[in-house]
């Protein structure tokens, strides 16, 4: 077991390094100069800054410098926003993304799963029809439209929540709701299918034949077995959520990492973009790592090599 974990850990580290290297060169391929702002007269200044930050040096030299900073886990300062330390940005705004993601998950996953169970239990019933309708609506309507509708109804018309911003807990409700809607429909759909699939299995027929009560069958046999594949997907889902959602962060002015990342690439903010890429890579790789290990532990059929 320890050997397996060590091996996976080594592979994970190598993966992070590979991602960082590939992204480093990919981002350098983007044309443009990070110091150019809207006023084209500042081009002299921009050239000066390129020189100052060593961005006119050969790429391998910059790469060595970047690797050095990576080893020290210090990503330096943003190029487009002077004075903003990349580490600080991550430390400050990752919790925002994480809070949003976790709130959405805590609301979305149980709700979705429950809806899935209920609609599988009474197929064609009112709950099922409601769940199906909701699934269709939330998957067919683009997120930015959905967000705008929620904002109009719950904030402008009803005045229940503030339209945008990130101040008190109240401000987090609309973006959370928006983010969790997709999750609810996804989990509802997944759970419903799994429940139905499990319902076909022989062990369930055996349980029925043994004369177990319906409640017992559903709770101890059907749901438990249907949940297993959902758990293994959870890691990747969490990782995806922790990268933040640009659309929702933009519409609700949430200071999360998703918006930061898109902006940093658009602004050619090399240091910020690389810092965020590496951070996200670490999050995903860590999630994969945990899932791999969990998988070995949960599923007795998987053998260690």
């Amino acid at each position: 077991m320890i050997k397996y974990v060590a091996k996976r850990l080594l592979i994970s580290l190598a993966t992070v390094w590979a991602i960082a290297t590939i992204c480093f060169f990919l981002i350098r391929l983007l044309p443009g100069n990070p110091f150019i702002v809207a006023n084209p007269l500042d081009i002299t200044n921009a050239e000066k800054m390129m020189e100052y930050y060593g961005l006119n040096d050969p790429v391998w030299m910059q790469y060595v410098r970047f690797m050095n900073s990576l080893l020290h886990l210090d990503f330096g300062y943003s190029l487009a926003h002077a004075g903003r330390s990349v580490n600080e940005v991550i430390a400050q705004y990752f919790p925002v993304t994480a809070q949003l993601a976790i709130q959405a998950m805590l609301f979305g996953i149980p709700t979705g799963t429950l809806l899935g169970i209920l609609s599988a239990y009474k197929r064609g019933g009112s709950v099922d029809i409601f769940a199906q309708l909701m699934t269709i609506l939330t998957t067919a309507i683009p997120a930015y439209v959905l967000a705008a509708i929620l904002q109009l109804v719950l904030s402008v018309k009803l005045g229940w929540f503030p339209a945008s911003g990130w101040e008190t807990q109240k401000y987090t409700i609309l973006p959370t709701l928006c983010l969790s809607l997709g999750m609810i429909s996804g989990h509802c759909r997944g759970m419903r299918t799994l429940m139905l699939e499990v319902g076909q299995q022989d062990y369930l027929k055996t349980a029925k034949a043994k004369g177990l009560s319906e409640v017992r069958i559903i709770f101890f046999h059907q749901i438990r077995n249907a949940l297993l594949p959902m758990v293994t997907n959870l890691g990747l889902e969490i990782a995806g959520l922790l990268m933040g959602s640009f659309v929702i962060e933009k519409i609700f002015s949430v200071p999360g990492l998703g918006k930061y990342f898109v902006n940093s690439i658009n602004e050619l903010d090399y240091t910020m973009a690389m810092g965020l890429v590496v951070f996200q890579a670490v999050v995903v790789v860590a999630a994969n790592f945990v899932v791999d290990i969990l998988y070995v532990l949960i599923d007795p059929r998987v053998k260690l090599d």
Binding site: Y77, W166, V254
Partner: protein, 607 residues
């Protein structure tokens, strides 16, 4: 047994993960709510403190304004929330954006401050100008930073040397060029005499420089102590202005609290708390405004303009000039191969005056401007319409240009010019013309303008050879600088206070059209405009030292006419500036530029 262990291990791992995430959630939630509470509490404390410390002055200030401005005494609120664009950085040295300056306007003391459009001395005590207008001697008042240290003459000198000198203006100061080019810490012509006196010496008298510098003090020791971290967070700033920045949630909001150690704290900036709310989405901004979550919107763009009650919107100034730039040089710069021809056909076509006139005449500029951005106005000049002439009328009305293209376009004339161009170049039909690329930013207004113009060229002239090249702003500007375009939608910020600065854009050397300099050095040090004309250069350069208004204006007029007739930069649209305030907000003022936070006399009444 082994299986059991595995199972229990799995359960513990899962639990650990869950608890971890839950824990994370808990702490972050706590953090934000704490932050919210603490800022609120801080703000509360601050207001309480200030009231305790100077109860009479604060009260009298508010009552004064209410009494003088409204007969019925109304209760005022101490918080003002407004939607604005976030600054790029608060690092004063590396700041390049106007957006940053608007925040410095709030957080820093100034030598001179523009208050509701009037430049008044703030930290400056006296200014002595020598008779030859070459030496400016300043003495400053007693003033302190919020940490108690004194603002000294050296701080202003440091700012001037570090920040004020630019490639365009450094030649006007003795030793300025040397300082700028070599990034020196000192400048021969800018120095302090003692703690409260400093001197600026010029190389020649300049009409646009009257000594009323709207500059900030910058403490060298603080800058050096902070290093790269300068201006990153509220703690990395030294405050001396009307407000302290207490919280900056990037991408969301900025919170300001009144600074009681500000030199004019008793008389100006009566509002206790300011909150700058960041919102990049028009619907969201509108929702917040309708909800009353914000009291004002600094920059009402075209999307908002259609939504917001027109009574709330106020026009303040045109801040940018849009125009169509034609690449008449016939080459492109590439990093590898240096200057590369854009092709003989393209080059000949773009160098043809009749062809450029055909393109220009085909555009119905007033209709396009109205369609693309209802907040804008059509432009036919290179100087802002808010520049005053010799009398009360605007300069552009007093000094008109001749032979200009009609604002509504002229399809017939355009076709005539096109046919003339085709004949000159030996084409029999427009379909034989080479491909041209029309470069612009990938933002909504820009792409819409270009799409509309290209469609007009297609319908009026039958041109199908123009392709649109949309690029993100940085790449677009880079491509433009390297002349990687045939036609470019140019936007220049306009300074209504300085008409010469605008004309300087098209000077051949030192200006933006220094193509020859680019060719000689291979280093782009400008925005490559295609206009090269010695007569123009002389006019603009001489205008800087011409102190007689009428003579200067006529020189500017001649220069404008030369530039217009060359059809290298065809003026098209002046980007508009509207702001919106709720009816209970009074004394709001936008400073020059896209938007500015001129809240010196701002009062928010209870509603």
């Amino acid at each position: 047994m082994r299986k059991m262990m595995k199972k229990s291990f799995a359960v513990t791992l899962l639990l650990a993960m869950l608890i971890g995430t839950l824990g994370g959630c808990g702490t972050t939630a706590d953090k934000t709510s704490n932050a919210g509470n603490s800022t609120a509490a801080d703000a509360g404390n601050n207001t309480a403190d200030s009231e305790n410390a100077t109860p009479t002055t604060t009260e009298s200030a508010t009552t004064d304004t209410t009494v003088t401005e409204t007969p019925v005494e109304q209760e005022t609120l101490d918080t003002f929330r407004f939607v604005a664009t976030e600054p790029n950085t608060l690092n004063m040295i590396e700041s390049t954006s106007n957006l940053d300056t608007y925040v410095f306007y709030l957080t820093s003391a100034m030598l001179y401050r523009s208050i509701d459009g009037v430049v008044t001395p703030e930290v400056c005590d006296t200014l002595t100008v020598s008779d030859d207008r070459m030496t400016y001697t300043y003495t400053i008042k007693e003033a302190t930073y919020s940490d108690g240290t004194k603002i000294t003459a050296d701080d202003f000198v440091y700012y001037l040397v570090k920040k004020y000198l630019t490639s365009e203006n450094c030649t006007y100061f003795v030793g300025g060029e040397d300082t700028y080019n070599n990034s020196l810490e000192t400048c021969e012509g800018i120095y302090s005499v003692d703690e409260s006196t400093f001197v600026i010496t010029m190389t020649s008298p300049i009409v646009t420089f009257n000594g009323q510098l709207e500059i900030y003090p910058l403490q060298k020791a603080f800058v050096e102590a902070k290093g790269e971290a300068l201006g990153g967070t509220p703690a990395d700033l030294l405050y001396s202005g009307p407000y302290l920045l207490t919280d900056w949630v990037v991408g969301s909001s900025m919170t300001f609290v009144k600074n009681d150690s500000y030199i004019n704290a008793d008389t100006l900036f009566p509002t206790q708390n300011l909150t700058l709310v960041v919102s990049s989405d028009a619907s969201t901004t509108y929702s917040m405004y309708q909800n009353g979550e914000v009291d004002a919107i600094i920059n009402v763009n075209k999307d908002l303009y259609e939504l917001i009650d027109q009574a709330d919107c106020t026009y303040y100034s045109a801040d940018s000039l849009w125009g169509i730039e034609y690449n008449t040089t016939g080459f492109t710069y590439t990093d590898g191969d240096g200057f590369v021809s854009r092709g003989d056909e393209v080059s000949a076509l773009m160098k043809n005056l009749n062809f450029r006139k055909a393109l220009s005449y085909a555009i119905n500029r007033s209709a396009v401007a109205a369609v693309v951005d209802p907040t804008s106005t059509v432009a036919d000049r290179y100087v802002s319409t808010s520049v005053k002439g010799t009398g009360d009328a605007a300069y552009v009305d007093e000094y008109t240009l001749e032979n200009t293209a009609p604002l509504e376009g002229d399809a017939e004339a355009a076709v005539g010019y096109l046919n003339a161009a085709l004949a000159e170049l030996g084409y029999s039909d427009v379909s034989q013309l080479p491909e041209l690329s029309f470069l612009t930013f990938d933002s909504a207004s820009q792409s819409m303008y270009v799409e509309t113009v290209v469609s007009l060229w297609k319908s009026v002239l039958g041109l199908e050879n123009v392709t649109i090249n949309l690029q993100p702003i940085q790449s677009a500007i880079m491509s433009m600088v390297y002349m990687n375009y045939d036609i470019y939608l140019q936007q220049l910020s306009m300074n209504p206070d300085d008409m010469l600065e605008q004309l300087g854009f098209w000077k051949t050397t030192g200006g933006v059209s220094d193509v020859a300099g680019f060719q000689a050095s291979g280093v782009p040090s400008f925005m490559a405009s295609m206009h090269a004309d010695e007569a123009y250069d002389t006019l603009v350069t001489d205008a800087y030292t011409e102190f007689d208004d009428a003579a200067r204006f006529s020189m500017v007029q001649q220069a404008e006419q030369l530039l217009y007739d060359s059809y290298t930069f065809f003026p098209a649209m002046a980007g508009g500036g509207y702001y919106a305030t709720k009816s209970y907000v009074e004394g709001y003022y936008s400073t020059y530029g896209e938007n500015g936070y001129g809240f010196a006399n701002l009062v928010v009444y209870a509603h």
